[in-house]
Symmetry: C2
Subunit: 203 residues, 2 copies
Amino acid sequence: MSISERKEREKKEMRQAILDAALNLFREKGYDAVSIRNIAEAIEYSPATIYLYFKDKNEIFFALQYEAAAVKRDHLLPVAQIEDPWQRLTEFGRRYIDFGMKHPGLYDLLFIIRAPMESVENQECWLLGMSVHKFFEDTVQACIDARYFKSTDAKTIAYTLWCHAHGLVSLFVRDRMRMYPPEERGELARKSFAMLLKMAETL
Amino acid sequence: MSISERKEREKKEMRQAILDAALNLFREKGYDAVSIRNIAEAIEYSPATIYLYFKDKNEIFFALQYEAAAVKRDHLLPVAQIEDPWQRLTEFGRRYIDFGMKHPGLYDLLFIIRAPMESVENQECWLLGMSVHKFFEDTVQACIDARYFKSTDAKTIAYTLWCHAHGLVSLFVRDRMRMYPPEERGELARKSFAMLLKMAETL
DNA sequence: AAATTTACTGAACACTGTTTAGTAATGTCA
DNA sequence: TGACATTACTAAACAGTGTTCAGTAAATTT
């Protein structure tokens, strides 16, 4: 059955080609500014062809969101190797912010864009994101167990750290740091992260 | 010149009617989901009429952004009455978060939606926002002067506090707290704000 | 009363997401 | 090999979008 195998492979390639083109366009112009016709033109097929591979424009979005979640996981999970929980937590935070800065388009996709949460694709994405979030909360708990924190409220600690990191990245990604000169922004973010760590040590 | 006065008044009323209708629709359905035709229908005029009062759809957005900035200022600036800088700062933070929770549509308009920043309307909005931000940074500086903080890096402290508050609000506004049961979210946000204040005391 | 200015609109243009009917090529099987 | 079925794709259409413009009817000025 080599023929049907080739067909299936080609189908996957086509699907991926659509996703690649879509991601490039989304990153350049944003989700709403990209039309199905734009994507179709980029892959040199008719708009209707896209609908043979994706139910609608949303489903393309969901598939990309899943890809973004996978990239994020791969960016973060290497820290699982770090034994010391406090070091693991700080490196996790550093990498979380680094992911957002390096892939603003993906971060947008995952945490900022207003998106309906329905499809199967998206449920997988959700589960993936949840597992990373659980790893994060577990690391906070490990810090508590190792007496790095006096507080024992792991959930609130994790959420508070997350708020800071998300706030930092999304102010950056959505260009709400105009009051700070461009060349200072990176430095300010780094200083703020360091300040948060200092503060967190007193928890 | 009572006639021309009436005309000018009517012109302002029409402009405001368009803005009111647009804001209602934007809050219900989001910026992109609202069409000029929807707004026109709401005020019972033809779509073309809208263009006599606004250059394009973006300019309606800018005008609303300015209104949002004014609402935010009115929500926050009463704390200027509070003498003690630390109390002033904490109440400012509480109100900032409160504003975001109470007016998610306006918060979105101001800090999340990807928006080109060009028009005159928008420049006024920017100046308004800057003045509130300056008040915030001044309050942090006042806390430093009153020895509430050991650190003297007002800018980084202000930015760090802002990151947390913005992260907290925007995770809420953009519905990224699904891992926490709905009835716990408010409580978690309150706890996190309290935790940040506790941490900030050690700065 | 005539001329001008104002406020508004219908209809069009080029775009959007999506559906449908149809085509041309490929794969299957007698 | 020839007939049939499936696959992969598309042109064209539908209803929607932001926006423009020629035209109109009413209000105001002369």
